[in-house]
Structure formats: structure tokens, C-alpha cells
Symmetry: C2
Subunit: 219 residues, 2 copies
């Protein structure tokens, strides 16, 4: 078992590159998403082994729903399948996203309140039909909100804690709207391989890098 | 003169590593900041040469003011000097930060409304005593704000446009509260050298990388 001097409490996962992976294999773009389920479960096992307390998966965003319908269907299904697989393991699950839109998969409505499955062991948040703009504006849509409140405490994703480390697959070095508040002081690690080519060595390398970072939070 | 297929419209600059640079030279930590002025002016020249339309410098943040007083004094002075130097060139200058705190340098108050110096040529934003939390909450402190408004359009930094590319010196791979809204889709490029060791080859390398990025904005 791998040991690190210091591990992140909460990691964010941006599982990018499914479409590019599919094209490289001669498949249709939308066929990539279903190859993203097993990597997620392997990552789950790795995080349990390492003692991670919380992880957040970037499922799909409101911006992603500008894509062609066959792709939308495929990533919606992949999110439903992933959440249902995790619900058969040990996890405190929470799905966060705009449920008031028809693009939110109805099958995931029961998961929008945090629920313990099995022995819990790890908090897992799954962003589904998530929008950074929706997340921030949610606070002020609340009738009880008043201008003296800290809006940061009232955002839609307020149950999700500050991120220590964000890992993005697929080589792109950008956050693409991933939890802007929780990402403020997160360290950002990019893996060039596509998400369906996940292997746990990638996580070990990310953690090996992370353990040597000097965390100051601006001080 | 360098040519690129595509250049960013708006770049963000996180000039980190002044303290580590000073320590490596056997100086006191706070002595690093004054070596950060000339790099800024050289970067200004490079951006004018390349045709960049807008740039935003991360001066200092509310979180940075937790540091020892001699450091606070040093980075305040460096910001004042930098803005006053830029005001002698061609630039549309704007300083954004919490002016209601005593930590905001009074010398910079005249710059908190965008002002053209010389022929303009480039928009330059300078964040001084900036806080991400202050920036976001600013919107709802406005008496005219109502819950149907998009708070993102009413933040304190709303005059600063979306960032295309953020370049951070000093090796750290994190945003540290830098304009969370404008950073949403920005590409993030990290230079391992410390900011006082700036040279324009670093910018050319960042731009060479940037020109090959596929910009999708989530679509």
C-alpha cells in the first residue's frame, strides 16, 4: 500500500477526454462515456485504500448540454449508471445540480439529499447538470436571503467543502466552471491521458506531487 | 517579432515567488517585491508588441494582509510604484480592490475609475487589496440589487472581462482567489521561475502553448 506524507482531504475529479478517446479508437464520440464508469469505480477503490475523506466528480454541466442530443443522452446515462453503481458500495452520496431543468435525469432525484449507502466510508459528491452561474445565483433566489448574509455560504453547492486538490484528465489546464468557490485555493494537477485510460498510478503520481506543495491559503 | 496563430485577448498575471526569490539571494523576504516592478514593465512592453488587448495583474489580496507588517508595507509600496510607472506609459488603467479598508493604499484611490494614460493602447487592471469573497458579495450589498438580477454581472470586478489565459510565476498550480468568475474558462499556464526572474521568452512559451489549445467553453 502506498504511503504519503500528507494526503488531500477532498479531491475534485474532472474526468475529461471521453470523446477524444472514443474517436482515437474509431468509435463515435458519444460512445466514450460508457467507458468512464469503470475508471470511476477503480478510483473509488484507490481513494478508500488511501483514506480520502471526500471526493467530487464533475458529471456534466449546463454548458455541456449545448452538445448534440446523442452525446447528451450518453453522458446523462453515464452519470445515472455511475451514481447507481456507487450506491451499491460504501459511500455518503450527494448529487448537486439544477433539478428544475428537464436535462436533469429524473433517476437521480432521490440522491439530491445526502444519503448513506453501506458503511459510508467516504463522502462522494456528483455534479449533474451543474452550472457555476446557477450555483452562485442560487443564494440570492432564496427569499430569506438578505444583503448582510455571506452569499458564499448560501450557494447551491454549500454542502460541498473546500477542495484541496483537483485532478483533470485529458490534458486541458482549465477549470471549466468546476465549483468556483470551493476551487479558490485548490492545487490543480493535470493528467495527459484520457479519462477512460485511468489507472491508479496516475493518482499516486498526483498525490506524490501534492504532498510536497506548500499550502499557505494566501498567508 | 514573434507571430502566433492565435493570441489571448485578455491575460491574467499572478506574479508569485518574490519572497522565495529574495531568500534565495540572501535577502529578507520583503525585499523581493521591489524587484517585481521592472518585470512588470518588461511584460507590458511584450504585450504591446504582441497586440494583447487587456491584462490583469494580481497585486495583493485581503488574505495576503495576514502576513507580517514589513511584508505588507513592501507589497503595498510595490503596487503603488507599479501603477504609477504604468501611468507614465500608454494604458487604460483600472485598480480594483476593497478601498474601504485601511490596507488599501490611498495613493491608488484616483485609479479606481478607469482612466486613459497616453494613447491607451491596452487595458490594464490591477488588483489591490482584492478579495474573492469581497468581489462576489459586493453585488448583494448594492441596495438596488434584487433577486432576479444575475449577481455575476454585479460583482465588484464586473468591469474586468473574461480571462483567456492566466500565467502564474513561481511554480504553484493554484488560482489563490484570482477573479473566480473571470477565470471560469481560462487556460492556466505555470512558469517555474520566480517572478523577479521574468524574461519575455517565458511569455512566448506560454503563448506557443496557448495557440494550440482547443477552446470550447463547454460546448
Amino acid at each position: 500500500m502506498k504511503k504519503f506524507k500528507r494526503i488531500p482531504q477532498h479531491i475534485g475529479i474532472i474526468p475529461d477526454g471521453n470523446r477524444r478517446w472514443a474517436q482515437n479508437k474509431g468509435l463515435e464520440k458519444q460512445d466514450g462515456y460508457r467507458f468512464g464508469i469503470d475508471p470511476g469505480l477503480e478510483l473509488y477503490d484507490t481513494c478508500i485504500e488511501l483514506g480520502i475523506k471526500e471526493m467530487t466528480f464533475y458529471g456534466f454541466t449546463v454548458d455541456n448540454t449545448k452538445r448534440p442530443p446523442e452525446q447528451i443522452k450518453a453522458f446523462q446515462k453515464a452519470c445515472v449508471d455511475a451514481v447507481e453503481c456507487l450506491a451499491k458500495r460504501d459511500a455518503d452520496l450527494l448529487v448537486v445540480g439544477n433539478t428544475q431543468s428537464s436535462l436533469f435525469p429524473k433517476e437521480l432525484l432521490p440522491y439530491t439529499k445526502r444519503t448513506r449507502f453501506g458503511k459510508g466510508l467516504i463522502k462522494i459528491n456528483f455534479l449533474v447538470n451543474y452550472g457555476w452561474n446557477w450555483d452562485l445565483n442560487y443564494s440570492v433566489k432564496d427569499r430569506d436571503f438578505n444583503s448582510n448574509d455571506d452569499l458564499v455560504k448560501r450557494i447551491a453547492s454549500s454542502e460541498i467543502s473546500r477542495l484541496d486538490l483537483i485532478i483533470r484528465w485529458g490534458g486541458r489546464r482549465r477549470l471549466s466552471g468546476f465549483l468556483p468557490i470551493q476551487s479558490i485555493y485548490a492545487d490543480f494537477y493535470v493528467i495527459n491521458e484520457m479519462w477512460p485510460d485511468f489507472n491508479k498510478e496516475q493518482i499516486y503520481q498526483a498525490f506524490a506531487w501534492y504532498q510536497d506543495q506548500d499550502i499557505t491559503l494566501g498567508g
